[in-house]
């Protein structure tokens, strides 16, 4: 660590320095809070516990914040208020029995969660979903991405104090897509739709036409959104230069998804892993240059437009055919001994499942790689030296869902 005295703002932008292995991690505090023996803070600092019940922690998340005036000098996230033992339950349930639980991980994006899990098990058991199922997966996953990003923008504006109006508009669009999901799977949020080697049911009659309708109408809404928000001076003033993250730190801290791409790192698993049939589609990956909240917002908005491109293409080209791999077994599904790590580009980042099979009907080890949790690693670094209003906005821009953070 350098000995140079850094002003708080520089601390936020400081280049990444790797501490010596084993050395306690030092953070760039401008003023080190005076800690008393029992760990509480003495002096002119104010310790505030933001959460677990707080309007903008997006669920039951808590941040123990030490404030100097309103400036943050220390921030420790506290997790576990929604630790629902997903992994333990899954290790005692059959492979298929965990599928509904994956819906409840990141409860905005059940389809992508399903897909990540199905993909992992398919890798483990050597299954290959048929063409039509791959198309359906891409369509539902991209619709999920739209739902997630549009709601995120709404919540972000809510955190900035825009009394719900953007959120209402976002949820209006979300409802339209949820109607599609409901027609497909019977449930609005918890779709439980994908299966190992395919999908549960085929598309109902008329679904594709409805989906095309939604996709056709969506850009108009996005244009509205962009006209009203992207150039709004208050939004720009609140977000530009706030919570900037350097690419090196982002990579080292395992940040993924739109957060990473807002730092200018071109890493989209749809392009890198080419899972599913993504290489057939023509889409681009938007990249930001500053890594601040505004870039994250804009990267998400632009990603929605790219998703629409994929959707249009997929809805046009979807073939007919079976939706399940004939090799897939529903009953008595026992993969061979082995292990697998499968991952997809979820709307929030890299969503991975790590499974160890001991040859039995239950996974021996079932692990979720939660993008939300790992993206929170750099929360403190982004918030130090900023004030409380910024903390709320930065947290909003990370886009966490507590079901996934705590599992």
């Amino acid at each position: 660590m350098s000995d140079a005295v850094v002003t708080p703002l520089e601390g936020v932008f400081a280049p990444l320095q790797f501490p010596e292995p084993g050395a306690p991690r030092q953070l760039n505090y401008s003023v080190a809070p005076k800690m008393s023996a029992d760990g509480s803070v003495a002096g002119d600092f104010l310790e505030v516990a933001m959460g677990p019940q707080h309007p903008s922690t997006h669920g039951v998340f808590r941040m123990d914040v030490v404030l100097d005036g309103e400036r943050v000098v220390k921030l420790k996230p506290v997790f576990g208020y929604l630790h629902r033992n997903h992994e333990k339950i899954a290790e005692n349930a059959s492979y298929l029995g965990s599928m509904p639980y994956t819906d409840r991980l990141d409860y905005f994006c059940s389809m992508t969660n399903n897909w990540a899990y199905a993909l992992s098990v398919e890798k483990l058991a050597g299954l290959q979903p048929p063409e039509r199922a791959e198309y359906i997966r891409i369509i539902t996953a991209e619709l999920t991405r739209l739902v997630n990003h549009v709601c995120l923008v709404g919540f972000l504006l809510q955190d900035m104090g825009a009394l719900g109006t953007p959120l209402m508009y976002a949820f209006r669009e979300r409802e339209k897509i949820l109607d599609l999901f409901e027609a497909l799977s019977g449930s609005r949020m918890m779709c439980n739709y994908m299966r190992f080697g395919g999908c549960r049911v085929d598309l109902p009659a008329g679904w594709l036409e409805n989906a095309k309708q939604v996709v056709e109408n969506f850009p108009r809404f996005l244009d509205d959104f962009e006209n009203l928000l992207s150039a709004n001076e208050i939004l720009i003033a609140r977000t530009q230069g706030v919570g900037a993250l350097s690419a090196a730190l982002a990579i080292n801290a395992g940040v993924t998804g739109p957060l990473l791409r807002a730092c200018g790192v071109n890493y989209d698993l749809r392009k890198v892993d080419k899972y599913g049939i993504y290489e057939r589609f023509d889409f681009r990956v938007p990249l930001g240059d500053h890594g601040d909240v505004y870039d994250r917002y804009m990267v998400r908005v632009l990603e929605m437009r790219e998703s629409l491109k994929i959707l249009r293409h997929a809805l046009r080209d979807i073939p007919s055919g079976p939706i399940m791999d004939p090799k897939a077994k529903i009953r008595g599904f026992r993969p061979k001994i082995g292990e697998v790590y499968g991952r997809i580009e979820g709307p929030k980042g890299e969503l991975g499942f790590y499974l160890i099979s001991d040859g039995g009907p239950n996974p021996y080890r079932y692990r979720v790689r939660p993008p939300s949790l790992i993206n929170l690693t750099i929360l403190e670094d982004m918030c130090l030296g900023r004030n409380v209003s910024d903390v709320v906005v930065i947290l909003g821009s990370i886009d966490i869902v507590l079901g996934e953070v705590d599992r």
Binding site: K123, G126, A253, G254, T256, V272, Y341, G352, R369, T377
Partner: protein
């Protein structure tokens, strides 16, 4: 990307004394892994991150796995006196296999867009020698995940900057993700006439009667 054998060879060449084993994976996923030793764990990790050919700059996933003590039955041939004659007899010897906790790291490279390289670290046993080197100084993404493994499995990561419980509360005892953790008996089972379930339901009811 290099194969794991090549990586293994380079590690052992560069870091003297490092023990690296290749763990095969026979299932269709074909993701073999490297078992590295505790003493050189951090050095090896640093090599993996900084080596210009590998540049594994992105640690995606850290997983704890619990392998409890197992009883291994082995067939052995023993010489035994049978009716005064020493003959070879097939016998079964039960041997306790020491369990251990394992931590699995899935590492990718964003710079070269390859991966994963899977690295494993194992503790010596499950209760006392549960120390492992922390890789958080190398990859910060391990910070919360190693805390989680400490919380749920009880692996103590030496060199972790802030090793506290993350999901459970501070006064919690035990490590709930271990295979032998006994959960508090606090819910009713559905009335299925299943032997084991019925037994648990009865004991639950008896406990509630005491309360």
């Amino acid at each position: 990307m290099e194969t794991l054998e090549q990586i293994k060879g380079r590690i052992t060449a560069i870091i003297p004394g490092a023990r690296v084993d290749l763990i095969p994976n026979e299932c269709p996923s074909n993701q073999p892994s490297l078992l590295i030793d505790q003493e050189h764990g951090v050095r090896i990790a640093e090599f993996l991150r900084d080596d210009p050919q590998l540049r594994l700059d992105y640690l995606s996933n850290v997983t704890g796995v619990d392998w409890p003590d197992t009883i291994v039955k082995e067939k052995v041939k023993v010489m035994k006196l049978v009716e005064g004659v020493e003959t070879e007899v097939h016998g079964v010897v039960e041997r306790k296999k020491q369990g251990y906790l394992e931590v699995v790291y899935h590492i990718y490279s964003i710079a070269h867009k390859h991966g994963p390289v899977i690295v494993r670290l194992r503790t010596n046993d499950r209760n006392v020698a549960v120390h492992l080197p922390s890789l958080t100084p190398i990859w910060r993404s391990a910070e919360f995940q190693e805390r989680e493994i400490y919380d749920l499995y009880g692996v103590i990561f030496d060199g972790h900057p802030d090793l506290r419980r993350i999901l459970m509360w501070d006064g919690f005892e035990g490590h709930p993700m271990r295979k032998d953790y006994v959960e508090p008996d606090d819910y009713e089972y559905e009335p299925t006439p299943h032997d084991e379930v019925l037994e648990r339901a009865r004991s639950h009811q008896a406990r509630n009667a005491v309360l």
